[in-house]
């Protein structure tokens, strides 16, 4: 069984709408857990922030569905910026807006174009927030996820398998934030006391990647 020969899912506006619906549902379901994670090392709002943002983004996309995958991501990003606030709003919003803009007006996107767009978005997060992997932020899930996707695609895997690998990498990245001392965001105020807790943003990032993997898996099924 060679993954690259399986018919990959088409990365069009509809694919990203389905991702968004899945992501909004999973964020809603996991909101309390995200807020719990944000309590010992943050300010107990990450779950409600993400829920508010993804609910609004989902509603906006369903109201006037963009025709291109880039259009969907850009709209979701703008919605997050306008509704989330906090650190996560500008960071996730910028990620998706930059990714959307990188995709341009074309449709559908190839897996490689999609991967490059995500990488552009994740790099923008790093630039905006000044964080690097290891600082105990969402980047600790996002960066390995994009790298895993990239590695899989380069090795000839299809999008679904590439995203399945990205999901594992994101999960591992999120879990690996536990022993880290935070150097960015609110958790950094705690100094060494931030050690021993999983970063809420890395956790939500892993959820968003997982939603992407699920959407792709369903498309090929």
């Amino acid at each position: 069984m060679n993954a690259s020969t399986a018919p990959g899912p088409v990365i069009d506006a509809d694919f990203l709408r389905r991702w968004l619906a899945t992501a909004a549902a999973v964020v809603d379901r996991e909101a309390d857990r995200l807020t719990e994670l944000d309590s010992p090392i943050g300010d107990a709002d990450h779950g409600s922030n993400m829920r508010r943002g993804f609910t609004a983004a989902h509603a906006a996309v369903e109201l006037e569905p963009p025709q291109t995958p880039g259009g969907v991501l850009t709209l979701v990003g703008s919605q997050l910026i306008s509704t989330v606030g906090g650190a996560a709003g500008p960071l996730y919003g910028t990620l998706l807006r930059r990714a959307g803009k990188a995709l341009g007006d074309g449709t559908p996107a190839t897996p490689e174009e999609f991967r490059d767009a995500l990488r552009t978005g994740v790099e923008a997060v790093g630039k905006l927030g000044g964080a690097v992997p290891g600082d105990k932020t969402m980047l600790d899930a996002l960066v390995p996820a994009v790298e895993a996707l990239s590695f899989a695609l380069d090795a000839g895997a299809g999008l679904a398998d590439g995203l399945a690998a990205a999901r594992i990498a994101a999960d591992e990245g999120a879990a690996a934030t536990v022993p880290l001392q935070a150097r960015k965001g609110r958790a950094s105020y705690l100094g060494p006391r931030s050690i021993g807790h999983q970063d809420p943003g890395a956790t939500s990032a892993a959820l968003l990647v997982a939603a992407l993997a699920d959407t792709a898996a369903e498309a090929v099924a």
Partner: protein
């Protein structure tokens, strides 16, 4: 944890409706989440805009009015507002003299205000920004998000507000705001954690007989947990932390601030100890403000902010101010 609310989701909107009902002297835009001075923009005057997560009342909305802010943007509880609010606020208060954004140094606030500044400038509003970062409990190093903005925000808003009221241009108001921030330091202590409406239970566990030193104003734990201390001992720790960092060589204004859940009776008692501790360290106190000004919902505890002043700052402090949360001279 019981709260006097309808549902967690509507807490900020409900509060804004309540502010509108209580303060006809302000424009409260519930839909767009803005509190604006009624006569804005004031011709020729620099506009002062601040904002941040809700849960710190009266900061910031309660500081809108003559001699202080022109507009405030309340975010969700403990969540920075979004750029749309700040852009709208800037447009509402810009008389052509430009707008100063007063931003507490938190990643979320900084990012959102930065985005807003870019957008507002695109719309032709001249924007200056001042970051407030007075909390000495956080090491200002590459390994943190930098010092937090807490009590000094009140000083920046009051003093820059008074200067703007005098008609000073944007560069001078900005420079003064920066000077006030640099002249101010804070340190906070929690006797209990606070409870956000969204979470519904305390954000951290603080057992009986222990307190948290160096807490911020978002229910986050501090840097150190200690056994319970007397108000005098707490005053010594807090004043030491602030004075060691500020090293004042001139009189200070002291803000003895309650976190929300500590009775005023206790706060005044604490103020006596703060004054004693300052006298022992030979720091003269020019003015004192005691009360709940920069709060953290229902958290029990206190913070002390000292702002070293000269003649000009003292004059600006004494200048008339008329807001729901701070009012004198008019």
């Amino acid at each position: 944890m019981k709260m006097l609310i309808n549902v967690a989701e509507s807490v900020v909107a409900d509060a804004l409706r309540g502010m509108a009902a209580a303060h006809p002297e302000l424009i409260v835009d519930v839909e767009h989440r803005l509190i604006v001075r009624r006569n804005a923009p004031v011709a020729g005057k620099v506009g002062l805009v601040s904002g941040g997560g809700s849960g710190h009342e009266p900061l910031h909305g309660g500081f809108v009015g003559r001699g202080m802010l022109d507009a405030a943007c309340p975010g969700e509880v403990f969540t920075s507002p979004v750029p749309d609010q700040m852009v709208r606020a800037a447009a509402a208060v810009d008389s052509g003299a430009g707008v100063l954004f007063i931003v507490k140094n938190y990643t979320g606030d900084v990012l959102n205000f930065d985005m807003a500044a870019e957008l507002a400038e695109d719309e032709g509003v001249q924007i200056a920004k001042v970051l407030v970062n007075d909390d000495v409990a956080v090491l200002d190093s590459l390994y943190t998000a930098g010092r937090r903005g807490t009590g000094a925000t009140l000083f920046v808003e009051k003093l820059a507000g008074a200067l703007a009221e005098e008609g000073a241009p944007l560069e001078r108001v900005e420079a003064l705001a920066r000077r006030v921030n640099e002249s101010s330091r804070s340190f906070g202590v929690a006797l209990s954690a606070c409870t956000t409406p969204a979470k519904g239970s305390p954000t951290f566990d603080l057992p009986a007989g222990e307190l948290e030193l160096g807490v911020g104003i978002h229910g986050e734990p501090g840097r150190e947990r200690r056994g319970m201390m007397t108000s005098g001992e707490i005053a010594d720790v807090v004043v030491d932390a602030v004075v060691e960092d500020l090293r004042p060589d001139a009189p200070v204004i002291a803000l003895v601030n309650g976190m929300g859940g500590t009775p005023l009776l206790e706060l005044y008692g604490f103020n006596a100890e703060v004054h004693r501790a300052l006298a022992e360290r030979k720091v003269p106190v020019a003015r004192t403000l005691v009360g709940n000004y920069v709060t953290s919902l229902d958290m029990a505890g206190c913070s002390v902010t000292l702002c070293q002043v000269d003649e000009e700052l003292l004059r600006l402090w004494d200048a008339p101010v008329s807001t729901p949360g701070l009012r004198w001279g008019c």
